[in-house]
């Protein structure tokens, strides 16, 4: 059952000459899933989030969030969503707790419930002991956590996260990603945007790849990879007899291509897990020892490259 329905959404900034930032994007998000918009800088991810947050009026199309139109029923949409903007939007001269209390009021919380929710969120973003410190004194990762915490105060049915891990250390990123997975496990629906292929791959139940304002592919990670017919790369090094080995490996079932690249063999295979044991057997039969193996499963990076002819810069 879908909780977000996006239909032919368009946005042109400063018409009639301005950029067509979002160009007829359609997708849906099922209740309780993490849906990622993956795309490079300027793809139109933030613009899409802004329209789904009722911050920007679409130039065309519409979206239903929790059954309400972002164009005609923005109040109901805003009740249902929590928005984590790409750039940190907090009051730096106020403490973490003061920020949360203020934003909680803006979400309509009050009194004991407000304080209880703020306590819960501080716990969740693990900032209980720093809650009285001004946000301006926080590290980038801590600010990001408060930035996310604000959007959770009113227990939104749909959470939008616009590149919430940009510019932070691996440890903070890890804790944010784990937090997002935990929220999903509790039933929250999440719309996530990123230009990090690995994040989309790890987090998402489904992914939409966007480029130049257009949705160029939608599906699960596996579906997307399969759709472009990409194969796994297997790179192998042996102690001797490399050329002979490559010829033998080329004949192993499941191997579609075998070649030599510098001192290694590079094979394209349909299913690395299935083929690898056979490659070892063939080497043993020829009296060669495999000294190094490197498997690269097909990924979204390859999909993006395949679809656009350009790399998805990290």
């Amino acid at each position: 059952m879908s909780i977000v329905e996006v239909q032919e959404l368009c946005k042109q900034y400063d018409p009639p000459k301005g950029v067509l930032a979002v160009d007829g994007v359609s997708f849906h998000i099922d209740k309780g899933e993490i849906f990622s918009l993956l795309g490079p800088n300027g793809a139109g991810k933030s613009t899409t989030i802004s329209m789904l947050s009722c911050l920007l009026r679409p130039s065309g199309g519409d979206a239903l969030v929790d059954g309400h139109s972002v164009v005609t029923d923005s109040q109901a949409v805003k009740e249902a969503i929590g928005v984590v903007p790409q750039d940190i939007a907090l009051y730096p001269d106020m403490s973490a707790r003061e920020n949360l209390l203020f934003w909680g009021k803006m979400y309509g919380l009050a009194g004991a419930e407000l304080h209880a929710r703020v306590d819960e969120v501080l716990e969740l973003i693990t900032l209980v002991d720093r809650q009285k410190d001004r946000v301006e004194k926080f590290s980038g990762g801590m600010k990001r956590r408060v930035n996310i915490g604000v959007a959770l105060l009113h227990k939104p049915r749909v959470l939008y996260l616009d590149e919430p891990t940009v510019g932070i250390d691996p440890q903070s990123r890890r804790s944010i990603l784990d937090g997002i997975l935990a929220l999903r496990d509790q039933g929250m629906t999440i719309l996530y945007t990123t230009h990090y292929m690995a994040e989309a791959q790890e987090l998402s139940d489904r992914i939409g790849i966007v480029d130049h304002g257009k949705m160029i592919a939608v599906g699960t990670n596996e579906e997307l990879v399969r759709s472009v017919g990409e194969e796994a790369h297997v790179e192998l090094s042996v102690d001797h007899y490399l050329e002979g080995m490559v010829e033998r490996w080329a004949d192993v079932p499941g191997v579609t291509k075998a070649m030599i690249d510098e001192e290694r063999a590079v094979l394209l295979v349909q299913d690395a897990n299935e083929v690898l044991p056979r490659l070892f057997e063939a080497a043993a039969a020829a009296g060669s020892r495999i000294t190094e193996v490197n498997v690269t499963e097909p990924n979204l990076e390859m999909v993006f490259l395949h679809l656009t002819g350009r790399a998805l810069r990290e």
């Binding site: 109040q75 805003k78 009021k105 309509g108 919380l109 419930e113």
Partner: protein, 429 residues
């Protein structure tokens, strides 16, 4: 409880507006440069200017030193000596704070005293003063009292001139009346007796001085509509009222500017993604501005009372003026901010607008006491009306005396605010 079970919350809009106002007020209170500008600057300037004008309580000028050479030899048949009367007036206890009179033996000595800078003015009374005044013939020669002044001491000279002039004017008046009576008597055929009568009349006038005067002039500052002015207004109070309103413009500008700042920082757009309506959010911002300048004004008024012992006047009138001033400052600052795009523009254009209004409105030059055309020009600005109102209240006026001084600025405020609100509605539609 899970994290995705939120139900709509319905905290009323008013409490959200207050939350926004409270947040902005607190953030201003933590902003030291802003506080310095809003509170310290007006107090410091008022203290400085108040001190420059002396005493802090009223405009006072140190007594002018006057050298007098009285050569009047009197005139035959008249006991009174006009020169002595003039000197007596100048030495009267009432004028002690204004002029100090030093007797000089001769006109030359008196002039030297001025040339040496020991006196500001010399008053030289001619030998024939009494003769001229008590002359029985209308064609008698005119006596001339000379004022010898240091040209750089204009105020001292003017004061002496007005005192001496006042005394001589009395003589001239008495003489004119006496001559008129004598003319009538002559027409009736008793010329000599009439001349005597005129002389006696002048002499009587001289002896009794102004004591039995039928008319007298008292000096007062121009009045605003309303009751009689009785109180002396302290100069520091007048100056602080002007400074307060001027710096309220900047205080309001500071807070109104956060609309642009928050827009850029992303917190305003983020507010727009919450279920709090845009009207409530902008209403909260407007309230922030108003609350902040009101608090600023109250602190300045209390500080003025405590530090400079300023008597601001009746509480209800002061409260009304304060609220209207806060409304004007808020409306104006919001209007300025609604017309600009960047914080830099807000600073520059704001400062220009407030400075011009303050110059025209009289924030730096005192209040209605200036009088005349300037008082009319002041009324082109809301702050001019407010300052005149403040002046009236400091002089003891009440609410009834400042109806227009409240109403006109309030209309200005409403107009400013309406235009600003329209522009913001368009910008953040």
């Amino acid at each position: 409880m899970g994290w995705a079970e939120g139900a709509p919350h319905n905290d009323p809009a008013v409490s959200r507006i207050l939350a926004i106002a409270w947040k902005d007020l607190r953030s201003t209170m933590r902003n030291v440069p802003a506080l310095a500008m809003m509170l310290v600057a007006p107090l410091a300037l008022a203290a400085l200017l108040g001190f420059a004008f002396g005493g802090g309580q009223s405009f006072s000028i140190s007594a002018t030193k006057v050298a007098v050479a009285n050569a009047d030899t009197g005139t035959a048949g008249v006991a009174e000596n006009a020169g002595n009367v003039v000197v007596g007036v100048m030495k009267s206890p009432d004028l002690r704070d204004i002029i100090t009179v030093g007797d000089k033996p001769s006109a030359a000595a008196a002039r030297t005293s001025v040339d040496d800078g020991k006196s500001t003015t010399a008053v030289i009374i001619p030998a024939d003063l009494s003769a001229a005044i008590f002359a029985t013939s209308p064609t008698a020669p005119m006596a001339v009292v000379e004022l010898y002044e240091n040209p750089t001491q204009e105020i001292g000279g003017a004061i002496t001139e007005s005192i001496v002039g006042q005394a001589l004017l009395g003589f001239n008046g008495a003489r004119a009346a006496a001559l008129a009576a004598s003319g009538l008597a002559t027409a009736n055929g008793d010329g000599e007796r009439a001349g005597k009568l005129a002389q006696q009349a002048a002499e009587t006038y001289m002896r009794d001085g102004g004591a039995a005067a039928a008319v007298s002039v008292a000096q007062r500052a121009p009045r605003l509509p309303g009751g009689e002015s009785t109180k002396d207004v302290g100069v520091t109070g007048t100056i602080l009222a002007g400074m307060m309103i001027f710096f309220m413009f900047f205080g309001a500008n500071n807070v109104a500017r956060t609309i642009i700042d928050e827009d850029r920082a992303g917190t305003l757009p983020r507010l727009f993604t919450t279920p709090t309506s845009r009207h409530t959010i902008l209403g909260g911002k407007y309230s922030s501005v108003f609350v902040t300048v009101t608090v600023q004004a109250v602190i300045l008024l209390v500080a003025g009372r405590l530090i400079f012992s300023i008597d601001w006047g009746r509480l209800d009138a002061v409260a009304a003026l304060t609220l209207v001033a806060a409304a004007v400052a808020s409306g104006l600052a919001l209007l300025v901010i609604s017309l600009v795009r960047t914080p830099a523009q807000a600073g520059a254009i704001g400062a220009g607008v407030y400075l011009v209004l303050a110059l025209v409105g009289g924030n730096f030059t005192g209040t209605a006491a200036a009088g005349g055309t300037y008082a009319q020009i002041q009324k082109l600005t809301p702050n001019g009306w407010l300052l005149q109102g403040w002046d009236a209240v400091m002089r003891g006026g009440g609410l009834a005396d400042i109806g227009l001084n409240l109403l006109v600025p309030l209309l200005f405020a409403v107009a400013f605010f309406a235009v600003a609100a329209l522009r913001f509605r368009k910008r953040y539609a």
